[in-house]
Amino acid sequence: MRVLYRVTFHPQGRGVEVPNGTTLLEAAAAAGVELASVCGGEGICGRCRLIIRRGRVETGPTLLLSPEEVKEGYVLACQSRVRGDVVVEVPPESRVERAVRVDLDAQVFLAREAEARAPFELVPLARKLFLRIPRPTLEDNVGDQERVFREVRRRIEAPILQAGLKVLRALPRVLRENDWKVTVTVARRGGTVELLQVEPGDRSGEAYGVVLDVGTSTVVAHLVDLVTGRTLDAEAKYNSQRTLGEEVTRRIIASERQGVERLQALVAEDINDLISLMVERQRIRLSDVVAVLCAGNTAMTHFLLGLPPKALRRHPYVAAALAPPPVRAAEVGIKINPRGLLYVMPGIGGWVGGDITAGILASGIHRVEEPVLFVDIGTNGEIVLGCRDWLVACSASAGPAFEGAGVTCGMRASRGAIMRVAFTSEGVRYEVVGDGPPQGLCGSGLIDAIAGMFQAGYIDRSGRLQPDRPRVVERRGELAFVLVPGEEGGREIMITQRDIENVLRAKAAIYAGISILLREMGLAVEDVARIYIAGAFGSHLDPRNAVMLGLVPDVPPGRIRFLGNTSLAGAKLALLSGDALDEAQGIAERVTYYDLISCPYYYDEFVAAKFLPHTDLSRFPTMTKALGLGEPV
């Protein structure tokens, strides 16, 4: 028997040799073919569907494929072991779309960027200074290092300046060969300024940085010009750690079994992919990228730095470090200038990370007078309530429904995603990201669809589909609402009973978190001046539908503002201004973490919030009136 077999993936046309018995999911990863997988290869999610075109695999029985599909050659990649050379086809629904709509994300915040940046002076964490250094004389014969430092201190405030041995060894030659006209790169490292490198001549215009939002599902990167502060490019991809599990806890377990190094390598590779794409497109030198700033939840930050995350998932949920110091980017495998630095946005606690610190910084809620509610919807829904005098945060485990996972036709806000749905007298209308046929539904589309189905009477207040209605059909033994019939030139897009339940659970967790924070702080909904919603919803989120669903409290739509990806926006502020990073540190230290799980009435609030819009209609007076549900009782 042969030991190695060849697996070829179409339409990518990529092949790989793998040992006998390897799963197709592992083979796909080895071939660099990304497959949709939510459960991390446990055969639960049914996402990694492949069609066997030629050859032999050994596959177990599964309920996630219909008998017809099995006849057509469908298998689940994670449940199929290679037993010979095989050729497989990756059907569209199993492909992972590379381009996430980051540009839209950026646009949402762009409108507010000037406002958010206003309080901070443009003093990037790393920058290049062109120096014309006076030649040494007998009267002035200090060392080369001291001579450079003196010039640097004339330009910037740097009481403590340090240079590495490598820089010093090259220094005398570079200075003298270039007629004492050199460009130095300096970077903030805590209270110290480090001289990162010395280059010949004037290269002060070529300084770039990258900000990262390392999310559980998605890694988003923006390339920033450190001289002008402008954003030059944006790129995103799915976090490759997803193959080890969709949720944070699963990944921590994976890191305990396989070593955190594996997760670190995966995310570093993702980051390198994104950076190299942007750098090539913008025709800049990789060595001119001198700083990276990363915002992410605490677990993601641990993975990136290779910190052991073991204590994070165990009571009392302690991080190895909440505000890790700047480190050499190369040390964690990020390929930029070899001496370039990696900064990490300080986190608040084990379950509220630097992405939320960044969100507070970007939304400015730590400066306002009246309390504001900030909700960042991701795999966990983080909620911050507060103003300039106090800030409280909690994390509600919503699950990934709003990110499109755990939902039959769910997807992220990328090309082909239905991002807007409207129920009109002429029928159901929808809007798709990019051109072409719809491939699935993203979070905002789901919110619109379920709110619309509720108003149009397709579901009752507990979210149950009404079997006697048109568009409501039975699929694989459960009721489903057909949003896009298959014959319209593509995939049938439906929302099943279970999908609705997942979304209702997610919204109930977030609403319960909001209502508990308000109650614990002794505030009523009317006391909240604004509600800010952040998250990967692309460019759109209908505030009215968010209220209709009962995701956020019933306030006039004008008081709800959608901010897009605030994690990235805050990271950018910090990269471009040391003051902003200091302020972020201050924010992280000021926020009080409230543990929802130990709240004695959490479950009560959660169950009450699972209804549409809520069990207690008196909390949703506007919606009650709009729906004609009668007087709240």
Binding site: D460, D604, V607, F611, T615, V633
Partner: protein, 325 residues
């Protein structure tokens, strides 16, 4: 100086809904007696705070098929009549003073005898012709089957103003339609969760059913088996109802017999647990004590099995109502 004792009596803004079960000839039915529950304006038996116009009542359980899992102490008192539904019901009413009969359609269960809706309707008719008290009809618990059975049963009992159950969050539409069409009352079931109790009521209301025709069944736990959880849920529901929440202002039903006779403290024969004492006494005591707890928690209808437990519960009700010392 005499100490002034403050008046700490509470008064509430809303009374619990009054629900009348059964209908006499004048009311379009054939009952010789109707039963009215609810109407309280105070917490259970707080006569000093508000009126309690209707005492709690006891319904006794009969099955459409002779039960196999009832242990001897509770089976023996009915051993002679279990073969005849009508006689069984008559014994409950005439000998043991049942205020209502609770007919459980166990025989319809698809995993059991899978009896037809028509057979169920015949069982209902048999009970109706045998006794004059109002009737509770409890489905087999299989949602699909209940949805087949109740339209036929509801029609067969049209005009009799029965209490049908149960509707749940997952299955309420058919039963709501049946109860609306044939004018019956409904039991709204929830799994020891006040929010879900409320949600079931909302669903029934949204489907067009009047809130004042519902009876809440918040699930029941036997003594020693989570009774305190149910107790506090009932207490909260009642406080909300009295406080003005119309969604929680329904009378409450407790399914005592079924729960009690499922636990080992009531079931175990003396040979198995010699130190627990006489099983003939232990089981009924367990049922009576459980019933007593639920009376104090606010139960309006108790569904029970053992004649001695029923006697004890009824005596407790009379005492708590001040009718007997």
């Amino acid at each position: 100086m005499p100490i002034e004792i403050p008046d700490v009596r509470e008064s509430f803004s809303q009374a619990i809904y009054t629900v009348t079960l059964g209908a006499t000839r004048d009311g379009g039915g054939t009952r010789t007696k109707v039963v009215t529950v609810g109407g309280e304006k105070a917490l259970p038996f707080h006569h000093f705070e508000g009126e309690i116009p209707h005492p709690p009542v006891v319904a006794m359980e009969v099955w459409d098929v002779p039960p196999e899992d009832w242990p001897d102490p509770v089976r023996m008192p009915f051993a002679d009549v279990m073969g005849s539904l009508g006689e069984w019901a008559r014994k409950c009413v005439e000998e043991h003073g049942a205020d209502l009969i609770c007919l459980r359609l166990v025989g319809c269960d698809p995993n059991g005898e899978d009896r037809s809706p028509e057979e169920a309707a015949a069982a209902v008719k048999e009970v109706l012709t045998s006794v004059g008290v109002p009737l509770i009809v409890w489905g087999c618990g299989n949602p699909e089957k209940d949805n087949e059975v109740f339209p036929v049963v509801g029609e067969a009992a049209a005009g009799e103003n029965c209490l049908l159950g149960t509707i749940t969050q997952d299955n309420y539409k058919t039963l709501v339609a049946v109860a609306t069409a044939y004018k019956h009352k409904l039991i709204a079931e929830s799994p020891v969760d006040i929010n879900i109790a409320k949600q079931v009521n909302i669903l029934a209301m949204d489907a067009g059913y009047p809130l004042e025709d519902l009876v809440i069944y918040p699930s029941t736990g036997a003594l020693g088996y989570g009774i305190e959880y149910v107790y506090s849920i009932m207490e909260r529901a009642r406080l909300a109802g009295l406080g003005g929440d119309k969604l929680m202002a329904q009378p409450i039903l407790c399914d005592i017999g079924r729960e009690v006779w499922g636990v080992k403290e009531a079931r175990a024969p003396r040979e198995e647990q010699p130190e627990w004492g006489d099983a003939e006494l232990r089981g009924p005591l367990w049922e009576a004590t459980t019933a007593y707890m639920y009376l104090l928690a606010g139960a309006d209808i108790l569904v029970m099995r053992h004649p001695e437990a029923v006697r004890a519960a009824k005596r407790a009700i009379r005492m708590l109502m001040g009718e007997e010392q």
